[in-house]
């Protein structure tokens, strides 16, 4: 993805120029690009007058941030306690197998990134998987393939439509 510095500046203009705005601005950049591009971090450092090392410290400390580009679809499997006792470990194994990636990795075609989180707070529906913000509750390993088929199918249709 190309990074336009002007786009970064548009984001940063919304915030003040102090350390206090570091996390909110990084969150917004993360949302816009799905990761924190190095060019953006440099810009943030200049504008907020926070040293680059501190920007990287914050960017690497909080789990919401990623320093690596991520896939088009973000797949999140909840590993909270309630999901754990209902078998989320089996679920994440199966998702990994279907997408052929491990948690934290992005598939080679840059389509999917698999992430695990500590809790999504939808414990009553555990085990829970979220794909691009859509929740799939009461998931079992057996349902995984069917869910991802929808996404790969949609992808193929889009590609076909563009050609």
């Amino acid at each position: 993805m190309d990074i336009e510095i002007t786009e970064i500046d548009t984001i940063l203009e919304k915030y003040g120029q102090e350390q206090r705005w570091l996390i909110p601005s990084l969150l917004e950049i993360q949302n816009a690009y799905n990761y924190l591009p190095p060019e953006a971090l440099e810009r943030v450092s200049e504008r907020l007058k926070v040293s680059q090392i501190q920007v990287y410290q914050v960017a690497s400390f909080y789990k919401a941030f990623s320093l690596e580009p991520r896939g088009k679809h973000i797949v999140t499997v909840c590993m909270g306690t309630a999901c754990h006792v209902r078998g989320s470990e089996r679920l994440v194994d199966q998702v990994g197998r279907v997408l052929q990636i491990k948690p934290g990795e992005t598939s080679s075609d840059k389509q999917f990134t698999l992430e695990v989180v500590s809790c999504l707070g939808t414990c009553a529906l555990g085990p829970v998987m979220v794909v691009d913000g859509k929740y799939y509750g009461n998931m079992t390993a057996g349902k995984v393939e069917r869910v991802f088929k929808q996404y790969t199918k949609k992808e193929k249709e889009e590609v076909a439509a563009n050609e």
Binding site: R20, I23, V50, K63, A64, T81, A82, G87, C123
Partner: protein, 617 residues
């Protein structure tokens, strides 16, 4: 100024009267639960379909969303007013029936009514259902009735009356005295008396003062703060406003998890509405009190639930806890006096002011007053959000409200307090739920997650799971927590993989005690609790792993075997299709077999089997 002299108060009251006068209680309304749980099971699409159907039929009825109603397991939930008919598990295909039968004919749709699993009877109203019947809802009372995005709805149920009372009829000291008399204790888990904290911050000399609402609900298995904000954000806001006035704070922050997008949206809508209506900003309602509030998003760090780490995060730094004293009440955010309370604590305040301290103090036990909200989850029938008076027994909570075991398996423990808490065995479920009893049992109240486990839950695996969490979430500042938790995790991991040795249990206990002493903040101090309590109550499971190399619950992969019971197997071949290791083979129509050499013990075969033919030992 008295409240009768304030034109702004009169304006607000007038608006309230107009709203109430314009609402006809006999007018049909369909409410659809739009909490995260029900949204995940299709609540939003349902609402749109209902609206469309009503429009097409030209009916005079309103569709409205509400916040989380707690019974997430049975979602999406729908209520039809004025009859107050309560529907569970409503799908798009039911829209026509609801419109034709209930809205037009006034009759309930039998199949959508909740069926009591014990008596087999259908329940028409919410309060007929055992899950609700046994609760005492104070904070959640309006959750299922009001539209969380509507300021008018909150006014209609008496919203901001407590604030008006506090601003115009009470001195700050009187408010603190009232909260003290009510006996409110912090709902974030530690149970510190709220009024004492307020008093300390009020008395601190420096200015400005800050208040913070801690909505960084990081405990896995807890979602009551999220649901409360999603369902009734104005009640939290009103509580913060009253507290800020009592403390003398001019600026507030709601620190909320980034993982809760819906809650973030709802609190932002509520703040905007409050500002528009003169309840935030300069000279609130003409009282002379000025206060404003900002929302700050967390960025995914569990340790930020700890107050000093949370404040570091608001300041834009990494979330590392600091040594106390000085306490935040003296030197908090940017070195200024800061009062920080949990979402539920803030939301309780308006009810105490409105109904009085005596009313509040008569609920609960001698030392733990009022009601509290739990997220009751795990292997029980009715999972969801519940509000109960303090002092209720664990058994009552799990068996009556939770409906007991989800299937035929026996329940064996309940985990409270998240990664800081412990597992309480079934034999001790006579215990009363209050701060002291739970602490004595080696657990804690925590933020209110309650996870019920059955005989298919391995307690050693559970302990390992929590340490994995704490190890991952440790900020790394204190050696005891950073290194110690990791070492404890390794020992547990070895045990679950079949490499446990004699003496491991003693070693775990010793390390646990040292980590408790050597850590600065609550995360490290309580991280060993899940291990220590499971050793205390389920020692035999540890011994089975270490000595017999067996996992009695059938969970730990290295110690279990999956196999297919030939009598039950129909030979459908589904398991073989799903097996990632190609370890299952057979001929269609004949029993299949698992090749134990190839088996990765993932359990997918067991999940997909429709005939209970796959078993684990």
């Amino acid at each position: 100024m008295s409240k009768n002299d304030s034109s702004k108060v009169l304006g607000l009251e007038q608006r309230r009267e107009q709203i109430l006068a314009s609402r006809d209680p006999s007018h049909p309304i369909i409410t659809v639960c739009a909490g995260t749980g029900c949204c995940a099971s299709g609540g939003i699409e349902l609402r749109e379909a209902l609206e469309k159907a009503i429009q097409e039929k030209g009916l005079d009825a309103q569709v409205k969303i509400t916040g989380c109603r707690g019974f997430c397991e049975q979602g999406p939930l729908v209520t039809v007013l004025p009859q107050n008919i309560f529907y569970t598990k409503v799908q798009l295909k039911h829209v026509g029936q609801i419109i034709n039968k209930t809205l037009v004919e006034g009759q309930p749709v039998e199949e959508l009514l909740f069926k009591d699993p014990i008596t087999g009877e259908r329940c028409i109203h919410e309060h007929d259902i055992p899950f609700y019947k046994e609760q005492q809802r104070v904070l959640l009372k309006d959750s299922g009735a009001i539209d969380p995005t509507s300021f008018d709805d909150y006014l209609a149920v008496g919203g901001y009356k407590a604030l008006i009372q506090a601003l115009f009829e009470m001195k700050p000291e009187e408010i603190i005295a009232e909260v003290k008399r009510a006996g409110l204790r912090g709902r974030g888990g530690a149970g510190f008396p709220t009024a004492s904290k307020w008093e300390l911050t009020r008395k601190a000399a420096a200015e400005p003062k800050y208040v913070i609402c801690n909505a960084d609900e990081g405990d896995p298995g807890a979602f009551q703060d999220r649901s409360l904000i999603e369902a009734n954000p104005h009640s939290v806001l009103e509580g913060i406003l009253i507290g800020a006035y009592a403390i003398g704070a001019s600026q507030g922050f709601v620190y909320i998890r980034n993982e809760y997008p819906l809650a973030v949206e709802r609190i932002q809508i509520a703040i905007a509405a409050a500002r528009e209506n003169g309840l935030l900003g300069k000279d609130i309602l003409g009282s002379g009190f000025s206060f404003d509030i900002d929302v700050q998003l967390g960025a995914g760090a569990f340790v930020c639930g700890e107050e000093t780490a949370l404040m570091a995060s608001i300041e834009g730094f990494i979330g590392e806890p600091k040594a106390r004293p000085p306490y935040p009440s003296e030197s908090g955010l940017w070195g200024k006096p800061t009062n920080i309370n949990n979402v539920k604590t803030w939301a309780t305040v308006p009810y105490i002011i409105k109904n009085g301290a005596d009313w509040y103090a008569q609920i609960g036990t001698e030392t733990s007053k009022g009601t509290t909200i739990f997220s009751l989850v795990g292997k029980i029938q009715n999972t969801g959000l519940i509000e109960v008076p303090m002092g209720i027994s664990l058994r009552h909570l799990i068996e009556e409200i939770g409906g007991g075991a989800a299937d035929s398996r026996k329940l064996k423990a309940v985990q409270t307090g998240g990664p800081s808490g412990g597992c309480i065995p079934e034999s001790m479920w006579h215990l009363k739920v209050d701060y002291e009893s739970l602490r004595e049992a080696g657990s804690m109240m925590g933020s209110g997650g309650m996870i019920v486990m059955d005989e298919r839950t391995c307690m050693v695996d559970m302990a390992r799971y929590f340490l994995d969490f704490s190890k991952f979430e440790s900020c790394g500042k204190c050696v005891a927590c950073r290194e110690g938790v990791k070492r404890m995790y390794e020992v547990l991991d070895y045990i679950t993989r079949g490499y446990g040795q004699e003496g491991d249990i003693d070693l775990l206990e010793e390390m646990g005690k040292s980590i408790k002493i050597g850590s600065l903040c609550g995360l490290g101090q309580t991280a060993p609790n899940p291990v220590l309590t499971t050793i205390r109550y389920f020692r035999e499971e540890y011994e089975a792993h270490i000595r017999d190399k067996k996992c009695p619950a059938g969970v730990c992969k290295a110690l279990i075997t999956y196999y297919i019971v030939a009598e039950n197997c129909t030979g459908c071949g589904l398991c073989a299709r799903y097996c990632g290791e190609s370890a299952i083979s057979g001929e269609k129509g004949k029993p299949y077999v698992i090749d134990l050499q190839k088996c990765g013990r993932c359990g997918v075969c067991m999940d997909v089997c429709n005939f209970d033919a796959v078993v684990v030992e």
